[in-house]
């Protein structure tokens, strides 16, 4: 019985257990071995268990809680954040242009929609676009970048729209990966990191070069650590790229300008391609913190660096104030890329045909929002400010509450959407986890899920220093719910510590 449809969903008969699995053409021996090493914790085993529990709740199974709270993924709308009105109006107009006659839609929304539709084949968002994206949208993105970076020029031809930032990140890693054995491409990535990077590197069989962020200094980046990591890596691979996520995921740190300069200098010295993941660029909360784009800093360092350092920056419609994850909108800007390679990149992106047009349209509105003299401006600013202000409050609240729990230490959530607190786990608990064959923080998170319905992702999914344990929790649940979640974590941690003391 298909619960969702209330109709008979014919389930396939069990079709293989009796017939000899080893006979399959595609089996564990023949499958691409690189796939075996791919893990993506954000959608990993704990999330699958959470889904199972949700099913059980629907079926009426008794639990100590009535709902599963998914604080595992950076999805604002899923947690109740409302879409920005203007963005949705324009995309709806693009989807069903008859609405252009409807006087319930403001004129500025209609103008944006008409402009986008004119740039679509056949005037429809159902037509393919050019593979790097719709031309006028790439131009708008370039203008946005120029404005953001105080006038530093941005060339639309260097902008590639993508299916979320993930698509662009994986494409670049593919482009960068080559060589065999000791000459195999090595890519530097922070520990902790967003596990898309480790998954992509595993699948490409590139070498992951981990550099540790300093938890005691609010997850900041120390160039000496970069130096250590790259020196060690040169023994067994060919380091070619350095990935940095700013503002950070899962750590929430916002790098200082000085730090960014240091990283750029380091990349220049070590001849590394810089990959700057800046999808949380509007999510900056802490006093004294500011987002500095890698490109801006690079150009302000003068031609010695700006004409030489190869850089790609990524952005997306999934985060910031709009949180439109489901639209899969994003872009990358490449700087100082070899023209021959750029040709190859253009060819590489053409394999996936084009990014979804609704996502491209949405991106256009993010980079080309209502202006002060336009009818939708007031509402737009109000909604945007409200979303960002609420996030800032929740970031502060989360840090404060978690830091009152003995055994949990939480760095300030300077930006992004997550907290990555450190857990003190009793020795007994660590042993119990080992017996189960689980990482101790997975053991902790699983127990938390079973007892409270709160789904977090264990720190082991993101990487952490040996012997330390963390979890990543989003700050996205609605404020009242977040308060409850934080309380439940406090109570759980106390129980857990007592149980395993």
């Amino acid at each position: 019985m298909c619960l969702l449809h209330g109709t008979e969903c014919e389930l396939q008969k069990p079709n293989m257990t009796e017939n000899g699995l080893g006979n399959r053409v595609l089996n564990m021996d023949t499958m691409n071995p690189n796939v075996k090493r791919v893990e993506y914790a954000v959608r990993g085993p704990i999330v699958q268990r959470a889904l199972q529990i949700e099913k059980e709740l629907k079926e009426g199974v008794e639990k100590p809680f009535t709902e599963v709270i998914k604080a595992n993924i950076g999805d604002a709308h899923a947690m109740g954040q409302k879409p920005i009105t203007f963005l949705r109006q324009v995309v709806a107009l693009c989807a069903y242009p008859d609405l252009l006659e409807d006087d319930k839609f403001p004129e500025d929304a209609k103008n944006r929609a008409r402009r986008i539709l004119q740039a679509c084949g056949g005037g429809s968002i159902g037509a393919y676009s050019a593979s790097p994206g719709i031309e006028i949208i790439r131009q708008d993105v370039a203008k946005y970048i120029e404005k953001r970076d105080g006038g530093i020029p941005s060339n639309p031809d260097s902008i590639y729209l993508s299916t979320g930032a993930s698509d662009a990140i994986v494409t670049m890693l593919k482009l960068l990966t080559s060589g065999e054995g000791k000459n195999r491409t090595g890519v530097m990535i922070s520990i902790p990191q967003y596990p898309l990077y480790s998954a992509a590197l595993a699948e490409l069989a590139a070498v992951q070069i981990s550099y540790y962020l300093d938890e005691d200094k609010c997850w900041s980046l120390d160039v000496n650590e970069l130096r250590r990591a790259v020196k060690a890596a040169r023994e067994h691979c060919n380091p070619r790229a350095l990935c940095i996520i700013n503002p950070g995921n899962p750590t929430g740190q916002v790098q200082s300008r000085q730090c960014i300069e240091d990283v750029i200098r380091f990349a220049a010295e070590e001849h590394l391609f810089l990959m700057a993941d800046e999808v949380y660029q509007d999510n900056v909360y802490a006093e004294g913190c500011q987002f500095h784009s890698f490109k801006k800093v690079l150009f302000e360092m003068g031609p010695e660096y700006s004409s030489v350092v190869e850089l790609v920056s990524f952005h997306s419609t999934s985060k910031c104030f709009m949180g439109e994850c489901g639209f899969r909108g994003g872009y990358m800007e490449v700087v100082n890329m070899d023209p021959e390679v750029k040709l190859q990149l253009t060819k590489l992106v053409s394999v996936r045909l084009c990014p979804p047009i609704p996502g491209q349209a949405l991106l256009d509105l993010v980079v080309n929002p209502p202006q002060p003299d336009e009818p939708s401006y007031a509402t737009f600013i109000k909604e945007r400010t409200a979303n960002l202000d609420i996030l800032a409050e929740k970031a502060k609240m989360t840090e404060q509450v978690l830091n009152t729990v003995p055994g949990i230490h939480c760095n300030p959530v300077q930006g992004a959407m997550y907290t990555f607190p450190r857990l003190s786990l009793p020795e007994k608990a660590i042993n119990a986890a080992k017996e189960k064959g689980q990482a101790p923080d997975m053991f902790y998170c699983m127990k938390l899920l079973e007892e409270t319905g709160i789904c977090l992702v264990p720190g082991s999914g993101f990487g952490q220093r040996d012997g330390t344990y963390h979890f990543r929790m989003t700050i996205l649940p609605a404020t009242e719910k977040l308060k409850v979640v934080l309380e439940k974590i406090r109570e759980f941690h106390k129980r857990f510590t007592e149980e395993f003391s």
Binding site: R43, G126, T346
Partner: protein
């Protein structure tokens, strides 16, 4: 200072090795789309010196010139399978539901039919937080996985389909890539190989190249309407031994670019062959809705497999691909595709789930499009009359073009065209004068590519050159999309005929 990336990824020249075995020259070319968009854009720029870039006019895929004098008013592009780009209109029901899902205030509107509002409400309640801006589960929204599996089951006369075996992605191209990622295991001595038809659209071959896998070409029989022969599959597989480890057989039915629709008998033979030779079957069925040829009928690989009974029905591993980009909907830009995985090892399914999850999820607008494709309006629904009228109109256009275009082409001296049974394209053969072939050599281009360039420049018509898809050595073809409004098609063929006759004269 030397740039960091001097060459792209891991493209190995295995394809050349395979190709040389069959005297089939392979060139590392830019994809059809990129090339033609660039050529088209280059031309459009020449036509409009006063504008920085041209934009297509809203009503068909043509650019309006202002500058240089040409013997035509606009450029018409039928090189790509892009119905809306070519002027076909979206289905009203689909767009109304989509708009209401994107801007839920419309659900209160009295301007939308009741069934549209109800559908939007059901779909929104299946989205986390009631928003299409949320991520979904990696296989797709469960409600929609169910809709799709019910659709498959109905289509296949009751053959069971399980929602857990359905993965939605950004277009079927993404599903193809992810399945290939599971399959392609390149060993030091021997790369993986995939049996691929000649001709086949170029994006698939680029995907194989990108993964370092080899294309194992099998030739479709032009004289038999581009039919697939198992003996040819056998020959191709035999030839691949020692060159690569052939693991899969990729079939497109209805064919792209050929327009051939496989008979049930042929499908059975192919399945048997795959079982005997232990090949993973990849059945690309995105054009399944466009089958109107006399005596032609689409039957899915899954249905035939199921009806062949055990042991084959329980053991042959099959991936079937479908999409909202083609058929009546033509919603290429929404990027909605899916793969149904049949008879896979459960251990592999776990990895399939992981691999699909690194994209996080398919675009929600694409998933919605798939739901609407799976569950169109039914008789009695308020939207049914308009829906029927619109789909009948598209059907009439396709039926007309399917019959008329091959006939018209066959009447042009120096062009022959196989009958079109289904799909979206015709792939007529050009009999080019030897002098023209020589001239192309001098210019350094494949003869049909050169022909297409001249056709674009002199007649303002953009078609796909046969060399992009593959063809028997010494033959030349072009590909045209016939999912195109009749008036546009007529104009295209008129210009093509004029151009071709002049071309023949020039090189006679």
């Amino acid at each position: 200072m030397e740039n960091l990336i001097a060459s792209s990824g891991e493209a190995k020249r295995l394809n050349s090795r395979m190709a040389n075995r069959h005297s089939h020259r392979h060139q590392n070319r830019v994809a059809v789309r990129a090339h033609h968009v660039q050529t088209g854009m280059w031309l459009a720029q020449a036509l409009e010196p006063n504008r920085s870039r041209s934009v297509p006019s809203p009503h068909n895929n043509s650019w309006e010139p202002q500058g240089v004098r040409k013997p035509y008013m606009d450029v018409i592009d039928v090189s790509w399978g892009d119905p809306h780009g070519g002027g076909v209109k979206p289905l009203t029901f689909v767009r109304q539901v989509l708009a209401a899902c994107i801007y839920p205030e419309l659900v209160e509107s009295d301007k939308l039919p009741v069934d549209v509002k109800q559908r939007a409400q059901s779909l929104l309640s299946a989205c986390d937080g009631g928003s299409v801006g949320s991520y979904t589960l990696s296989g797709g929204i469960s409600y929609i996985q169910c809709s799709v599996s019910n659709f498959i089951s109905r289509r296949d006369g009751g053959v069971p389909s399980s929602p857990e075996n359905i993965f939605m992605t950004s277009g079927s191209q993404r599903s193809l890539m992810l399945v290939l990622k599971l399959l392609v295991h390149n060993q030091a001595s021997l790369p993986a190989g995939v049996l691929t038809a000649v001709p086949t659209y170029s994006s698939f071959k680029m995907m194989l190249q990108r993964l370092g896998a080899a294309v194992v070409p099998y030739y479709l029989d032009e004289e038999q309407g581009w039919a697939m022969e198992v003996e040819e599959l056998r020959r191709a597989l035999q030839a691949s031994k020692g060159v690569c480890n052939t693991v899969a057989l990729y079939v497109i039915n209805p064919g792209n670019p050929t327009g051939h629709v496989q008979s049930r008998k042929c499908i059975e033979k192919v399945i048997r062959f795959a079982a005997e030779e232990r090949l993973f079957l990849m059945a690309d069925e995105v054009y399944q809705e466009s089958v109107f040829g006399e005596g032609s009928e689409f039957v899915s690989y899954k249905k035939v497999l199921s009806e062949m009974g055990p042991p084959l029905s329980h053991t042959v591993e099959l991936a079937s691909f479908h999409s909202a980009s083609k058929g009546f909907m033509g919603e290429c830009g929404l990027r909605g595709g899916y793969v149904e995985l049949v008879n896979l090892d459960p251990a592999i399914m776990k990895y399939a789930y992981t691999i699909f999850s690194t994209d996080i999820c398919a675009p929600v607008t694409g998933q919605l499009a798939l739901e609407l494709m799976a569950n169109p309006p039914r008789p009695g629904d308020p939207s049914y009359p308009v829906y029927t009228q619109e789909t009948q109109s598209i059907r009439a256009m396709l039926v007309h073009n399917m019959n008329w275009v091959p006939e018209f082409l066959n009447n042009i001296p120096g062009i022959s065209c196989q009958p079109m049974m289904g799909g979206a394209f015709v792939f007529p053969r050009l009999y080019l004068p030897q002098a023209a072939i020589e001239k192309a050599k001098v210019v350094g281009m494949q003869p049909d590519l050169w022909y297409c360039k001249r056709l674009l420049e002199e007649a303002g018509v953009c078609v796909g050159p046969g060399c992009e898809y593959g063809q028997k050595e010494g033959t030349h073809h072009i590909r045209l999309c016939v999912m195109t409004p009749v008036e546009t098609m007529e104009e295209v063929l008129k210009r093509l005929k004029n151009f071709h006759l002049h071309f023949l004269k020039e090189f006679s």
